[in-house]
């Protein structure tokens, strides 16, 4: 049936079809452009939330520095609490008491039984065990770590490799506990061997659910083939980052009896990891990047295990040259620290120069001129680094002089990005190999992927909206009886409260409603949040501050809670909060804290269940437990299906 259209008697012919084609093409391209925009802001959301978290992390460690500097000023129990909070720093170099051989492995244990020195049979056993979701017994974990520590002590800070002995070297980036990606790399590229050399560029743990398995495999291969397997330290190979980003939790969940001991050994091993690798004197591989202060000779000479990756940085983004603390002026420690922080945390930027990395809260942004200068200074031709998620798994910048390589596919969300690894032969020309692990065999279309990622990002963003108290008070200040505010003001509030630099106006349709007159109904932001337990009656200031720093407080709690029972005494809670508020410069009177502590102690037994405390502020991470359930369900399906 042909429609009769006025003014056109002959509507067949190539001119006609061509115009039809152009019309379809226009519409399709428009659709793709909008999809691309959604993809971009989704990416922005994930990245902002991720980096904001890391920034808070560095603030926390500056708090520890503050305590170190000021503990003498605290009354009474101050020093005891400090020594509790900061594990008496045992020099990682020294041998800890490890009696792994006293640990009995029951007959019923069906997992791998490693024998040292390791052989290929052991690593194969580990690979198949982990594929079958088995856990390595604590006794073997401890022994493995003990041996790894012995090996790493013999290594220099900067490891030099040569392609004249080995055919090809494969360099992998961040894995973040993604066992599937590691197994995929080994499958595609081969296991570490004399023909297949590997360099893993840091960030093996945190965020993913299989950090323990990933790092055990890497260390096992390291012990098996110390000449063919090389590991660089990343910014996540650090016990404070692990407390926040999940590695500590994972270890404690999998190893209830020996978790603490295992974590202590991990701490030692991480601090002993080399910080850089150089290939043929031409290619430098570090986890984060460099700065205008980076001095490779200096870095080769320091005692790397003595320097934490993130301590002694105050405030984030500003580099002190001297300690203000009177008689303990140790400029070299500060320098060491700064240099290592730069190596582990910096990101490249497009413009020339070197500026503090305020996004991350540590390290720098380094420009092409900084790269050029360093490469020239040391006769290098290429810098390979990781640390940043890239959609294609890798990215060039600085006119091809810097490569970012990232090996955790689907990092933010299913379908968000590919992983990649890079191979170098004798001519040192990089070749890239990409992959993407997918949970289901069905291939998602681009639309479906963008939509899934977008949904996930917006959910994560809405979780951040919980700090209603902050926003309410702001709005009250900006004169609103009607509950309306302009889109501009709304965007400003969100940006200042959440401290996330995102395209708020573009996101607005997903987050809030517009009133008929074009102004924004800000209450619509908080819909479908779910009711929370009413806050205990405290001064608004305290509640807000507690809320904002809840993650930091959780970490401190976890440190105080030595036996990981989930309970701390009221006195300890009081002291911790007092300390923390002194650091923040917030004036809180003792009776308010006492009232709060008492009201949180729901069962009145003198101890506080931290989970209940968090629940009171609606901060228990709902996604975490849902995620756990989903993964368990899917794992179950994978095994049976």
């Amino acid at each position: 049936m042909v429609r009769c259209l006025p003014g056109s008697s002959h509507h067949k012919g190539t001119n006609f079809t061509m115009k039809a084609a152009v019309l379809i093409q226009r519409w399709y391209r428009r659709y793709m452009a909008r999809l691309e925009m959604r993809r971009r802001y989704t990416w922005n959301i994930f990245q902002s939330i991720e980096y904001a978290g890391e920034q808070d992390q560095l603030q926390l460690s500056s708090f520890f520095t503050f305590m170190l500097d000021n503990f003498t000023q605290l009354n009474g129990n101050g020093p005891d609490l400090i020594s509790q909070l900061l594990d008496p720093v045992v020099d990682p170099w020294l041998d800890r008491e490890t009696c792994y051989n006293l640990i009995h492995v029951p007959e019923s244990y069906t997992g791998p039984r490693l024998s040292f020195p390791l052989s290929v049979a052991d690593t194969n056993a580990l690979l198949s065990a982990f594929k079958d979701q088995q856990t390595l017994h604590a006794r073997y974990v401890l022994q493995l770590l003990y041996e790894t520590k012995k090996l790493l002590k013999q290594m220099p800070n900067i490891v030099h490799l040569s392609t004249s002995y080995y055919k090809e070297i494969t360099i992998c980036g961040d894995l973040h506990g993604r066992l599937d990606d590691l197994l995929l790399i080994f499958y595609k590229n081969g296991l570490p061997s004399a023909e297949t050399l590997y360099v893993f560029n840091g960030d093996f743990v945190d965020r993913g659910k299989k950090s323990v398995e990933v790092v055990i495999l890497l260390f096992a291969f390291l012990l098996l083939y110390p000449d063919y397997m090389h590991l660089n330290r990343g910014n996540h190979e650090d016990h404070i980052m692990n407390l926040r980003y999940g590695f500590t939790k994972e270890v404690m969940q999998k190893y209830k009896t020996h978790g603490r001991e295992i974590l202590q050994l991990f701490q030692d091993v991480f601090s002993l990891l080399p910080i850089a690798t150089v290939i043929d004197g031409k290619i430098l591989i570090v986890h984060g990047g460099i700065s205008d202060q980076t001095d490779l000779d200096f870095l080769s000479s320091i005692e790397r295990h003595k320097v934490s990756g993130i301590n002694q940085l105050w405030p984030p983004g500003v580099r002190k040259n001297n300690f203000l603390h009177a008689d303990t002026l140790i400029p070299t420690t500060q320098q060491c620290s700064c240099q290592i922080v730069d190596i582990l945390w910096s990101d490249p930027k497009i413009q020339d120069g070197c500026s503090p990395n305020t996004f991350r809260g540590g390290g720098c942004y380094f420009g092409p001129d900084v790269t050029q200068r360093l490469l020239l200074q040391h006769g290098l031709q290429l810098l390979i680094r990781s640390h940043e998620c890239k959609q294609e798994g890798y990215e060039f910048c600085h006119s091809g002089k810097v490569i970012t390589i990232f090996s955790a596919s689907n990092y933010y969300e299913e379908g968000s990005n590919r992983g990649a690894y890079v191979k170098l032969g004798r001519e040192l020309v990089p070749r890239f190999y990409q992959y993407q692990v997918s949970r289901t065999t069905r291939k998602l279309t681009l639309t479906q992927r963008v939509r899934a990622a977008e949904g996930s990002a917006l959910r994560a963003l809405k979780e951040k909206f919980d700090s209603q108290a902050d926003m309410e008070s702001f709005y009250i200040c900006t004169r609103l009886a009607s509950g309306r505010v302009s889109v501009c003001e709304w965007a400003l509030v969100l940006e200042s409260v959440l401290r996330l630099d995102l395209p708020w106006r573009t996101l607005r349709p997903h987050l809030a409603r517009l009133a008929p007159d074009g102004s924004l109904e800000y209450q619509s932001c908080f819909e479908d949040m779910g009711p929370g337990i009413p806050l205990p009656q405290v001064t608004p200031n305290l509640a807000e501050t507690l809320f904002r720093y809840r993650t930091d407080i959780e970490i401190i709690f976890n440190i105080i809670d030595k036996d990981h029972s989930g309970l701390i005494s009221i006195e300890e809670f009081r002291q911790t909060w007092r300390l923390f508020s002194a650091h923040l410069g917030v004036a809180i009177d003792d009776s308010a804290i006492d009232d709060l502590a008492r009201s949180i102690d729901f069962n009145k037994d003198g101890s506080i269940d931290f989970t209940e405390f968090l629940e009171a502020f609606r901060v228990v991470h709902k996604l975490d437990s849902k995620d756990q359930q989903l993964h368990e369900k899917m794992d179950g399906e994978k095994r049976t299906g």
Partner: protein
């Protein structure tokens, strides 16, 4: 020509910033068409090139544009007729040989890759993903209208509430008057 409100201009500026990959508050010439599309327009590549002053391939890759230079271009494109859902359906109907609400996937592929502003094979594959039935036909128009339109085709038109019947040919020929102009911002808000 409709003027954009300050609110709309703020929206555009923010979206513009999303496409700036370099950090100099500018975008490359070869991104301009896509940004306009992301902001609710749907120009042809040719009309965008005309507005950019017919740049060479080199210009497209290397020259950059800031927001102040971009905004008048956007205004110009906004003034052009955009067309509606019905025009699009009319476009598809051209290839509906039997007039029964389906087009042959194979024919569509050939047309889109050889005529007009040719689409590349990956582009066409993405467009056609999951659309063809067992006979290789694409059902572009359902019995109950919008609801049964195949997914990508449907989503193009999420923003148009009123289906205005327009003369397909008048729409396409350059000498016609503007028939339906929707302010881009309203379209954007329904993203």
């Amino acid at each position: 020509m409709t003027e954009f409100t300050p609110d709309q201009i703020e929206d555009f500026k923010e979206a513009f910033g999303l496409f700036d990959r370099v950090g100099d508050s500018q975008v490359a010439y070869n991104q301009v068409a896509d940004i306009m599309r992301a902001l609710g327009q749907n120009p042809t590549n040719r009309s965008v090139n005309k507005i950019l002053g017919n740049p060479t391939a080199d210009d497209l890759a290397n020259k950059r544009l800031n927001f102040d230079a971009f905004l008048p271009m956007l205004k110009e494109v906004d003034a052009q007729p955009k067309g509606t859902y019905d025009d699009y359906v009319e476009g598809l109907r051209v290839f509906d040989k039997e007039g029964n609400g389906t087009v042959m996937g194979a024919e569509l592929r050939i047309v889109l890759s050889t005529l007009g502003e040719k689409m590349s094979e990956p582009e066409i594959d993405a467009l056609m993903a999951g659309q063809e039935d067992e006979n290789g036909s694409v059902h572009y128009e359902g019995k109950t209208g919008l609801q049964t339109i195949p997914l990508p085709f449907f989503f193009f038109f999420l923003n148009f509430q009123e289906a205005k019947y327009l003369n397909f040919f008048l729409q396409l020929s350059s000498s016609t008057s503007c028939l339906c102009k929707r302010p881009a911002a309203r379209v954007l808000k329904k993203l």
